[in-house]
């Protein structure tokens, strides 16, 4: 308990080095620009029919996942977490459950169409 369970342990410093553990203006601006780019790429490519079908789906999912990673790193400061990385552990557990639910549902229901 006393071993600083989260990476945001240094938040309660009133002044000084607190911004180190909570990103800088630079990291927020980089994150924002990356998010904008990762939103505009699929918009332009898919709505103008530059990619279609499976390629478009892959592009959409890849840019969405990348944007998720950008938010985690640049906005939610996951990378700056101190050991032990409880936040990361919990996130991985949550993602395993979410992916199991989503992919499992798709898998089961694809073969559920009894004609």
């Amino acid at each position: 308990m006393a071993q600083h369970p989260t990476g945001h342990s240094h938040d309660a410093h009133a002044h000084g080095d607190s911004h180190e553990s909570h990103g800088s203006l630079k990291s927020y601006v980089i994150g924002f620009v990356l998010s904008l780019v990762l939103t505009i790429i699929p918009l332009v490519a898919v709505l103008n029919d530059m990619v279609e079908g499976t390629a478009a789906r892959v592009l959409l999912l890849v840019t969405a996942v990348l944007q998720f990673v950008v938010q985690l790193f640049f906005f939610m400061h996951l990378r700056e977490e101190k050991k032990p990385r409880w936040n990361l552990m919990a996130l991985i557990l949550g993602l395993v459950i979410v992916l199991t639910i989503v992919i499992g549902s798709i898998w089961i229901m694809t073969y559920n169409k009894v004609a």
């Binding site: 938040d11 909570h22 924002f32 699929p42 459950i97 979410v98 499992g104």
Partner: protein, 208 residues
């Protein structure tokens, strides 16, 4: 009990820069909120799974590509994305001890959030007007439940953010309000992440 224990333990560990049990308790609370966000992820995961499975079952009603109007959705996306950035700027101001800046950026974030909700509500009203109700088809049940749950989260976040601005005005930046700002900014980034997947899976894949 936890508070007392933490205090004693952090003393024993020899932290000499002035954070005691209170600090550890706030850090623990923030950790608890992170766990809530993970469970919220699982909630949205089930709603996404439901929508993905049902999105072709339109029961003779309108389909996704007939119904969705992208200009409004694109505007919502950029508004929410910008508000995620401005909530980050609020945290930056807080870390510099700038209370006015903190409240100001939170206000900008709340205004952007309100604009997002306004656009979404008008989109829903228009769709219902066109006869696309939640009871029309399994596709629309899944759609309104998924997107509506996200919208509800944003609305709750808005009320919470306004309440927090009053607290900040009254109490200033303390270890308690600091944790609250950190937590709501995590919540807001999380809602942006969920929206990215709503935008990608529901809207973009719906109209392509």
């Amino acid at each position: 009990m936890a508070n007392h224990g933490n205090h004693a333990a952090s003393g024993a560990h020899g932290h000499d820069h002035g954070h005691g049990g209170h600090h550890d308790l706030e850090a623990l609370r923030q950790m608890g909120f992170w766990l809530f966000l993970i469970t919220d992820c699982i909630l949205f995961g089930t709603l996404f799974a439901t929508y993905i499975v049902l999105h072709n079952n339109t029961a003779g009603g309108p389909t996704a590509s007939e119904l969705f109007e992208m200009p409004g959705v694109i505007a919502e996306t950029f508004i929410l994305l910008t508000s995620s950035f401005t909530s980050g700027l609020a945290v930056l101001c807080m870390n510099r001890g700038n209370r006015q800046g903190l409240i100001g950026w939170l206000a900008v974030t709340a205004i952007l959030g309100a604009a997002f909700i306004g656009l979404e509500v008008s989109e829903f009203l228009k769709m219902v007007d066109e006869g696309a109700k939640i009871s029309t088809s399994a596709f629309l049940s899944g759609f309104y439940t998924l997107v509506g749950t996200h919208g509800l989260h944003v609305s709750v976040g808005l009320c919470w953010m306004i309440a927090l601005m009053f607290q900040l005005r009254k109490h200033g930046i303390t270890s308690v309000t600091r944790r609250k700002v950190n937590v709501i900014s995590l919540y807001w980034h999380f809602l942006d992440v969920v929206w990215i997947f709503v935008f990608t899976i529901v809207y973009m894949m719906g109209v392509m």
